[in-house]
Amino acid sequence: MNVTEQMITILMVVLGTMVTRFLPFLVFPSGKPTPKYIQYLGKVLPAAVFGLLVVYCLKGVTIFAGSHGIPELISILFVVLLHLWKRQMLFSIAGGTICYMLLVQLVF
């Protein structure tokens, strides 16, 4: 990607973010009730999107080559354990990242 393409990409992300933030204020200008379908999506979509994001993060993992995704698997389990234990977001994120860094730097 050249600089122009990078700027266009960033601009698209800015635009997309602004659409998601401003749209409700444009579509539902006053206290009218929100359509039921939109309310439904508001409740069920986030969980599915977070699932998609987890898969997105792992899209580069190769099961049949390299480290076979073992450092990723161990680190994710570690994040889950830390989070079940303390339920402190930053603690779980930091712990999992350090675990992964140690694994890929020292073991695999």
Binding site: I8, T34, P46, A48, F50, G51, Y56, V79, Y100, L102
Partner: protein, 237 residues
């Protein structure tokens, strides 16, 4: 007028304590984000510009990946809409609270990240504090924490002498934690499991570079088809 009596100053002082936990969290994540951009080969101008204009943490991490990949503006736009779709529902919740805020309303909506939304939605603002300025400062402080951390990470990332290999896992860890938080809050997990399962199938079927948009369409389609059983199952209660 003495400085202490100005409603603006008063609102700033009332807002600041609410943002202290965000300061800690944002600095950890934004410094990491700036360092991550730096070690990915980007000048500090990138995290600086992106933290200022995008101001939405998770998509900024994803944008680093997109900038390193092939040029695909449509996918960048669609990906952003999908990741930030939750903002639509923050907006719906804030329709009343942000009403009548004049010029500040534009900035309040522009800066409505997860954390600004959470505070402005839940904070008990004292009666004698101007609500518009209070919410304005919550947003501004958060924006500044994110911006300063990202920029410093971008500048000083090159001075870091420890081995940063594997630092990119911070994004995976963050989404795993967010996924778990969502999981713990809900009674039934149909949507969460659908999201994981459909995405995984699409990854296998379409490959790493092409799977996102089909996965998004499939998730939206299947959730729409399953609306009646999911609503009857009490998932949305």
């Amino acid at each position: 007028m003495k400085k202490e009596k100005s409603p603006v100053w008063k609102a700033a002082k009332a807002a600041f304590p609410h943002t202290i936990p965000i300061f800690a969290g944002f600095w950890f994540l934004s410094l990491t984000y700036g360092i991550y951009m730096n070690v990915s080969g980007f000048s500090f101008w990138y995290p600086m510009l992106m933290s200022l204009t995008i101001f939405a943490g998770s998509i900024e991490f994803v944008t680093v990946n997109m900038l390193l990949g092939a040029f695909n503006p449509l996918q960048a736009f669609a990906m952003t809409l999908m990741i930030n779709a939750r903002h639509l529902f923050y907006g719906i919740s804030m329709l009343d609270k942000y009403r009548g805020m004049g010029w500040k309303k534009f900035y309040l909506i522009f800066g409505m990240c997860d954390e600004s939304f959470s505070i402005n939605y839940t904070a008990d603002i004292p009666k004698d504090v101007d609500r518009g300025w209070f919410m304005f400062f919550v947003t501004l402080f958060n924006h500044f924490y994110w911006f300063s951390g990202s920029t410093l990470g971008g500048i000083f990332g090159s001075l870091i002498h420890f081995n940063t290999e594997g630092l990119e896992f911070v994004m995976t860890a963050m989404f795993v934690v967010i996924f778990m938080e969502q999981w713990m809050k809900e009674k039934k997990h149909t949507s969460a499991l659908l999201g994981l399962g459909i995405s995984f199938l699409c990854l296998i079927a379409f490959g790493a570079e092409q799977f996102i948009i089909p996965a998004m369409i499939a998730i939206l389609g299947i959730l729409t088809l399953l609306r009646t059983p999911i609503e009857k199952g009490g998932e949305t209660a």
